[in-house]
Amino acid sequence: MGFPATDLGAIWLTLRLAAATTVLLFVIGTPIAWWLANTRSWWKAPLGAVVAMPLVLPPTVLGFYLLVAMGPHGPIGQLTQFIGLGLLPFTFWGLVVGSVIYSMPFVVQPIQNAIESVGSRPLEVAATLRAGPWDAFWTVLVPLARSGFITAGILGFAHTVGEFGLVLMIGGNIPEVTRVVSVQIYDHVEALEYVEAHWLAGSMVLFSFLTLLALHVFNPTWRGRK
């Protein structure tokens, strides 16, 4: 026996959600990580704390506030309505917004650590060799901080796959739109479909194991050397 069509739909949706979230997190998280790694501003500690907050907040709390903010009377909701996007709750892109915030620390922190461990010297060297900041970012920082970027990508993707409470709060349980794997498992258990629940839950265990294995494999040996 394999996965029924509804399960496959949930898996596909989950993968799309995690992929979109990871891509967006690289785009948004890298500048934040860069700023946190280099700033001496008073704002470093507060902003760092805000980015890390999803680590300790119950996902339901985050989901609740996002639901309110993205709702018809919330600031984000008013903005999305104003620019013609409609309302985000109970849509795929609403889930993406929630996931980006929820998984932010898992992407920002590895990149920030990697940028800090590379230090400013290699970029200064690149500047004395005529490389502008953008050029140096791609040809020096990204290769040297590679393991941090890989770790960030794997953790951001995996953490998004594993979310549950936030999805229930802002996505509900709409097949093909917001019903991700973790919600589907919940439904199976509610309906006493233990065999189906085993298949999906077992897949998640395997996925998590492979993810953590990948983290070790992709940590290049030169890391930590001077």
Partner: protein
């Protein structure tokens, strides 16, 4: 106000606990050593010149080009300079060849003056090209870093204690390469160092920094011979002179060095006649006599004129500046001897030089 040739640098910085204020006019060619103790601002000066540190009210022109003036600030990557850092700064993710190419390929072909083959030959790194930096010795890494900087065809080369992280044997390995740079390339060099032997061997011009300010700047021979701030290159005040090997005495294993008309006998160093060398004479190795001693073991007894005297920290001692023809030399004698011999400016004497060190 900028003179067409030369480097004009004015920087002022106020950090808590460190004030940096220099106003320098340096020659646009040759090696200028920036000498001084740790914390005197040597690296700060170099970082300001490179544009790695932005001083709001700074001014910098290099051989007619303005790099910083008022609100105009050319960022580092637009300044035609080469920079060699104190510690190995090769990119670990690139091979030696990749490191050399990194700077070179960012310089337009028409502006490339130093070819890859030339740089590889000058620094002797042809056999390392396919290696990764982690497999190189400290000395090899610095040679690659110097070649990498040269390949950007810089109009100013900045060397920040490039030998400081190396042991004595590695230093001896690199110094000849730096001398070749000095002799063969026309690129002006700012060489930061606190090592007297490097300065004595390489520098033409000397800037002495102390506590964030320049206490002396000028051609090396004259600057070292100044009495008002005897600069200790190592354990003692002294002068460094440039000359050429005039003659070799095979029997006694000696060589005669001609320093702008004044001859010194030194221990043979294996150099052929005509070879350019430098000698160092420390003040404590020079004594003064009124008559030429004919029964002395000292080889170098040379007629001299007393130019200036200055008391030293210990009241028993006096530092005397002598001129041997056109060549300045410092002598340290006791105050009693000054009195006994009647040493005053203008007095004709004999300088008895016990040791002349051949340093390059």
């Amino acid at each position: 106000m900028s003179s067409p040739a030369g480097i004009r640098a004015r920087f002022k910085l106020d950090y808590p606990g460190f004030a940096f204020d220099v106003d320098l006019e340096l020659p646009g060619r040759g090696v200028t050593a920036v000498f001084g103790p740790s914390g005197s601002g040597k690296t700060t000066l170099l970082r300001c010149v490179a544009g790695l540190l932005r001083v709001p009210a700074g001014h910098l022109t290099v051989n007619g080009e303005t790099w910083q003036e008022g609100s105009h600030f050319q960022p580092t990557h637009r300044r035609p300079l080469g920079y060699v850092f104190q510690e190995a700064s090769l990119f670990p993710h690139l091979t030696v060849r990749g490191n050399l190419d990194y700077g070179m390929k960012r310089v337009p072909v028409a502006e490339r003056k130093v070819s890859l083959d030339r740089a590889i030959g000058l620094l002797g790194i042809g056999h390392l090209l396919d290696r990764k930096p982690e497999g190189l010795s400290g000395g090899e890494r610095q040679r690659v870093a110097i070649a990498r900087a040269l390949l950007t065809s810089p109009r100013l080369l900045l060397l920040d204690e490039p030998l400081a992280a190396l042991d004595l044997a590695r230093k001896q390995e690199i110094l000849p390469y730096l001398e070749r740079l000095h002799d063969e390339l026309e690129i002006p060099v700012l060489y930061v160092s606190h090592a007297p032997d490097e300065v004595a061997r390489l520098a033409d011009h000397l800037v002495v920094l102390e506590a964030g300010g320049a206490v002396a700047a000028g051609p090396m021979v004259e600057t070292l011979a100044r009495l008002d701030l005897p600069i200790r290159l190592g354990e003692d005040a002294g002068v460094v002179l440039e000359g050429t090997i005039a003659e070799r005495d095979e029997r006694w294993q000696l060589a005669r060095v001609d320093c702008s008309g004044t001859d010194f006998w030194v221990r043979e160093g294996g150099h052929a006649p005509g070879h350019a060398v430098r000698v160092r004479i420390l003040a404590r190795d020079v004594s003064i006599a009124l008559n030429r001693a004919t029964d002395s073991s000292i080889l170098n007894i040379i007629p001299a004129e007393v130019i200036e005297l200055r008391e030293e920290a210990h009241p028993a001692q006096v530092l005397v500046k002598l001129k041997l023809g056109a060549t300045p030399v410092l002598a340290r004698v006791t105050r009693r001897s000054v009195d006994a011999l009647g040493l005053v400016p203008g007095r004709q004497v004999y300088a008895q030089i016990k040791a002349v060190a051949l340093i390059a």
